[in-house]
């Protein structure tokens, strides 16, 4: 494999700095919870359903206790007490929390320890459900052919889940290995997960548990019919990232877009909320074996891809550090980056190779997610098709793991059936024709590609030092990433954060933490 020069000590130091940066935030995470986190726990206990206005039961229950200022004790505490008071199931208990005549202030009666005992069998069920889904996924993977990377990743986005299912299967047939259903654009800012199958959505389709099932069924059929395991992806981001992570875990998703900082930067979600939520989301992800896809590629769509290349690497180190703290293994970390350099710059292709190869070498066990050009696509579909082919050439040469296919109609419309077909065909050509190119070539040790790689790692190292000095909270408010500035108490969802009390009860999270940290995860 052709390699670029990489200073191992510098890489190790970058990891140390990133660990320090994440540790600072982890202290905040470990003392806080959020409405999103608590709703996730109710869902994990099996609580489901929505009222006649479409408000999920988990929202009604959690909001009630948050308004009463009691969320810091953990919704599980009150759920356990409702069970002790005679509720016949977690569902029944949650309904009592939501609609009972009085809010349980938890002042007399069973204490935290007793509540934990009452919850114990349901905690076991909650974990068994995740483990079972993981087992089913692994068995299906073994029964079908699992293609070699780079895996070809395509998106469908009709707004109607039933049309998405048809398109997802068509994409698999045309050669896609991974199918993502793009989410309706406003969903990341909804502080609830819509209920049931949905047929209307702008810019994409809502992520709901039922929609996950519908696509999984279509892709199971595709796996069976075409003899290749087809992976399903959705978005564990926004204000419901933890709930969606749990849904992905039990509905057998293979990947989830999930990033420690993306929501803060690109959706103006409050930092505190986002850090707390990403941790819990990743605990479920770690348990279920789902691969995360981080969003560093987005930095290059707002900031300049040449000048700010190092911010991608720095952020990847930080994302890795946060993911490790949530028990996610390197093999589950699909760190993201993108082919977004202005194609008309001299040697732009060389710069792309340098970056892609550097990422590959630094994160050598990670299933790297490689994103196509978007920013410089302006409607000339013929040029865009060539542009995408060059992107695929870098992907195969530098052995990227997960390649989101470029669409020549990017910036015009959501991909049509034939757009996706032609993209898959061209990618198949490049992958086949250049399969072993990376093994046959080498980069000049003092050449342009090598020098660029050294420069980008140096700059990433310097940026990490600065972030460590200023803390991540301050760095984000100065615009260190993607040129976007966010403040600690600004953004959406801050009101949904609560400080944990000294006797906070969350036995599902505790079990996830304990099992993962002891290496007991099945």
């Amino acid at each position: 494999m052709a390699t670029v020069p990489m200073d191992e000590r510098k890489v190790a130091h970058c990891r140390e700095i990133a660990a320090h940066i994440a540790e600072d935030v982890q202290q905040y995470i470990d003392t806080h919870t959020s409405v999103g986190v608590e709703r996730t726990m109710l869902r994990a206990f099996g609580v489901e359903g929505a009222d006649d206005q479409g408000a999920p039961l988990v929202n009604v229950a959690v909001d009630r206790y948050h308004r009463a200022g009691l969320l810091g004790r953990g919704i599980s505490f009150f759920l356990g007490r409702a069970l002790l008071a005679g509720a016949k199931s977690p569902q029944d208990a949650a309904e009592r929390l939501a609609f009972g005549p009085e809010v349980d202030r938890g002042e007399t009666g069973p204490d935290a320890a007793q509540a934990r005992v009452a919850l114990q069998p349901h905690v076991d069920d909650a974990l068994a459900r995740i483990d079972r889904a993981k087992g089913d996924r692994e068995a299906l993977k073994k029964s079908a052919k699992y293609p070699e990377p780079p895996h070809k990743y395509v998106i469908v986005a009709t707004g109607n889940i039933y049309d998405d299912a048809v398109q997802a299967k068509a994409a698999a047939r045309a050669g896609a290995d991974i199918v993502a259903v793009i989410r309706a654009t406003a969903q990341s800012l909804l502080d609830y997960v819509p209920h049931g199958a949905t047929t209307e959505g702008y810019g994409g389709t809502f992520a709901t548990q039922e929609n996950f099932k519908i696509i999984r069924r279509a892709l199971d059929e595709a796996t069976h019919d075409y003899g290749r395991y087809i992976q399903q992806t959705n978005y564990s981001s926004g204000l419901c990232m933890a709930e969606i992570a749990w849904m992905g875990a039990v509905e057998r998703l293979d990947m989830l877009l999930n990033d420690a900082m993306y929501g803060i930067l690109f959706r103006d979600i409050n930092m505190c909320r986002n850090f707390v939520d990403q941790y819990v989301a990743r605990r479920f992800i770690a348990r279920s074996g789902i691969i995360i896809n981080t969003g560093e590629d987005n930095y290059l769509t707002t900031a300049d891809a040449v000048e700010k290349a190092h911010t991608v690497i720095a952020s990847q180190f930080i994302n890795e550090a946060f993911a490790k703290r949530a028990g996610v293994r390197e093999e589950q970390m699909g760190l993201g980056h993108a082919y977004e350099i202005d194609p008309w710059i001299e040697d732009s292709f060389l710069l792309e190779i340098a970056q892609a190869q550097l990422v590959r070498q630094i994160f050598d066990r990670h299933p790297i997610k490689w994103m196509p050009p978007t920013k410089h696509k302006v409607g000339d579909i013929f040029f865009a098709h060539v542009h995408d082919a060059m992107f695929s050439l870098v992907g195969i040469t530098t052995n990227q793991s997960i390649e989101l296919l470029g669409m020549f109609s990017e910036s015009i419309h959501n991909p049509m059936l034939m757009d996706r077909y032609l993209s898959l065909k061209a990618t198949r050509y490049v992958y086949t024709a250049c399969k072993h190119l990376g093994e046959e070539i080498s980069f000049k040790p003092d050449g342009r590609i090598a020098k660029r790689a050294v420069q980008v790692l140096d700059e990433a190292h310097t940026l990490l030092e600065e972030v460590k000095r200023d803390t991540i909270w301050e760095s984000i408010s100065h615009g260190a990433f993607a040129d976007v500035k966010r403040t600690r108490d600004g953004g959406k969802g801050f009101a949904g954060v609560a400080e944990r009390s000294h006797d906070y009860v969350n036995p599902i999270l505790e079990r996830l933490e304990a099992d993962q940290d002891k290496g007991l995860t099945p």
């Binding site: 068509a170 045309a174 769509t301 202005d342 059936l417 034939m418 077909y421 040129d483």
Partner: protein, 257 residues
């Protein structure tokens, strides 16, 4: 506006000879490949006005679907002399000219507030126009000494944008809409105009609409002052605003939509 070399001559698609009307089209039909499918594609092309269509490729692009590329001679011609386009832009002003004019004629900065409204989360357009970095080497409004640019980002509600723009005493408001389905971009934009009228300040501010599906004509129809489509550079928007505010209003011209 007439064709520069051949006034009043009907325009035909140009392949390799004047008047041959050659064009290519590609489409998908819900039928598996077969002789019959090929004939269906040929007739389909003929119905679109192509003479002697050549079905260059027929491939199964999904189960039960065929993808076609067809070449043929279009019989259609356009008489460009009959085309009326609301306004055609002249040259963008240079950076120096913009700065000098605002300084000498206006004597204060031009305040511009922009956002991606509604559910649209794609800030690529508004970022290209407002942010320092700009687009394709053309620096954004933030980079001009004579502009004060506020980019409110994505998923901004109309009410929020209106309130912020009013508080900042904006000279111009930019609304960007990138991703759309079922014409939601038009509805969002029209709702903003309705809001401005209802609150009674529509005429106190210049309202601009931008995005890949937007053109000047559409923007005017919706009640905006100007529309900016794909390929618009920050200097186009800057020139427009300078002409409107500190020059000859009639010379303020957005690019051809």
């Amino acid at each position: 506006m007439t064709h520069p070399t051949a006034p009043n001559k009907p325009l035909r698609a140009y392949g390799d000879r004047d008047g041959d009307g050659m064009l290519q089209m590609s489409f998908t039909l819900q039928i598996p490949p077969s002789g019959r499918a090929r004939e269906a594609a040929k007739r389909f092309a003929e119905m679109h006005g192509l003479k002697e269509p050549l079905v260059a490729t027929m491939e199964e692009c999904a189960e039960g679907f065929s993808f076609f590329v067809v070449y043929g001679h279009s019989k259609h011609a356009i008489d460009v002399s009959t085309i009326e386009v609301p306004e055609i832009r002249t040259e963008a002003l240079s950076r120096e000219e913009i700065e000098t004019r605002v300084k000498t004629r206006l004597g204060r900065k031009i305040v511009v507030v922009g956002a991606c409204t509604g559910s649209d989360a794609h800030t690529v357009g508004i970022d290209a126009i407002l942010n320092y970095k700009g687009y394709a080497g053309d620096k954004g409004l933030e980079s001009y000494k004579s502009f004060e640019a506020y980019n409110l980002g994505a998923q901004v509600e109309n009410e929020q944008l209106a309130a912020r723009a009013r508080a900042l005493k904006a000279d111009a408001i930019l609304i960007s809409q990138v991703i759309t389905q079922r014409n939601v971009h038009k509805e969002n934009a029209a709702a903003f105009i309705a809001l401005a009228k209802k609150e009674g300040w529509r005429d106190e501010v210049i309202l601009l609409f931008g995005g890949p599906r937007v053109d000047h004509k559409l923007a005017l129809e919706l009640g905006f002052d100007a529309g900016f489509g794909a390929g618009t550079k920050p200097s186009d928007v800057a020139s427009y605003l300078v002409e409107r505010l500190s020059g000859d209003a009639k010379r303020a011209k957005p690019p051809v939509g």
